[in-house]
């Protein structure tokens, strides 16, 4: 049976995680490390140790903002940013879900907006996110001034060829 490490390496499709010699340069440059329960290099160690449940259930993989500083500075070109994408996708596909539920709900609201019109409509996406997450009252202080300053448009934009958009979502669907 495939180990967790083999599974992740296959999906990263690049330099294998074994190339990491834990110099911690990724963690030193990571802007989110201080908010994470496990540092980026610790995640690599945990994957090597086969701690699949702990890794996929961690908040760390969702707090990574894909700033790509880690891969830029890694002396061995280990693509940690891609690894985080792979881990998030595994958490979704295996039904573990997201430890940081609202982060995933935001991504889902964003994608729903594309599915609906081909382009993102910020206001509709925000309403969708708020209903899904239950986070109804955040940013209520900013919203009116954004609206008055014309930052939020009322009419949703639309791509004409919606069939091609539907096809893309249908054919790339994983679960």
């Amino acid at each position: 049976m495939e180990t967790f490490l083999e599974e992740v390496n296959k999906k990263i499709h690049g330099v294998p995680l074994q190339a990491c010699y834990h110099c911690r340069k990724c963690t030193a440059g990571c802007p989110a490390a201080s908010h994470m329960e496990y540092n980026p290099n610790k995640v690599i160690k945990m994957i090597q140790n086969g701690q699949k449940d702990k890794v996929l259930n961690s908040s760390t993989i969702w707090l990574c903002m894909s700033c790509e500083t880690c891969i830029t500075r890694c002396p061995n070109q280990v693509d940690i940013a891609r690894m985080m994408d792979v881990l998030r996708q595994m958490a979704i596909e295996t039904g573990v879900g997201a430890h940081e539920k609202n982060i995933l709900k935001f991504h889902e609201a964003f994608l729903s907006s594309i599915k609906f019109g081909g382009r993102v409509h910020e206001m509709m996406m925000t309403v969708h996110y708020k209903l899904k997450s239950g986070d109804l009252f955040s940013d209520m202080d900013i919203a009116p001034s954004m609206f008055l300053k014309g930052k939020l448009s009322l009419l949703p934009p639309r791509t004409k060829d919606m069939k091609s958009i539907k096809n893309i979502f249908e054919k790339t669907k994983k679960i």
């Binding site: 903002m65 894909s66 994408d85 609202n102 889902e108 994608l111 910020e122 300053k149 790339t172």
Partner: protein, 282 residues
Amino acid sequence: MKVSYYPGCSLHGMAKEYDQSMKAVSRALSIELKEVDDWSCCGASAAHNTNFDLSIALPARNLIAAEKNAMDVMVPCAACFNRFKMAEHHLKADKDLKARIESVVGAKYQGGIAIRNPIDVIYNEIGIDALAGKVVKPLAGLKPVSYYGCLLLRPPEVCEFENYENPFMMDKMMKAIGADVKNWSYKTDCCGGSLSVSKTAIVVDMCDKLMSAAKEAGANCIVTACPMCMANLDMRPSPSMRMPVFYFTELISLALGLDGSKETFKSHLVDPQPLLSQLRLI
């Protein structure tokens, strides 16, 4: 010169100031823009966080549409630029993926056009001297720090941005239009990006750090080329930390005395007009 233009969702929404000033500046610098026909969203962070194939297919649809114009495609939004470059990178490196994505999109990807951001186009195609030659109102007294963020620069072998650890193109442009651009060490730090709504406290923390570094450098404003950086820096810092933030094209438009250049300042959340009028720039 003539380029295809991919505005992306932000430039038709919250970043409309970027779209308006980009178009005005392009006209003034004789960069002719032809919008990509029936474009759609690039998928941004949401797609690559959740589904790899989707994150390649969404920009691929637009790249294929842009190829019909047979011109380089200019992508002002740093997030869209990053996703376009990432899709190009993977499609060129992985034949199986290319075949799979072509069947998803229903068209062939040729890979024959370059994906460019406007900093690169203005700096390398128009040139700093030509830009400086068009200035009618040097931005004396304006002290910006240039903020490049993440998505224009990284990963470096994908984005191919010049001097990715200490970029300078935007700094030189600001100097060319008469601003007293300040040096700082946070040009390429992250603003918190897509966590702005779903994990706001972290983003406030990151933006406060940037603002305090900008103040320490002696800046009175920040200049950016990314709608996400703009939104976060304009909206998220703690009230005592805020300062005006501009798209670099808004400042070029002002210095070149272009029509409508004052209009875009009205939609900023941190009003830059008091600073600009105090400096007699508006």
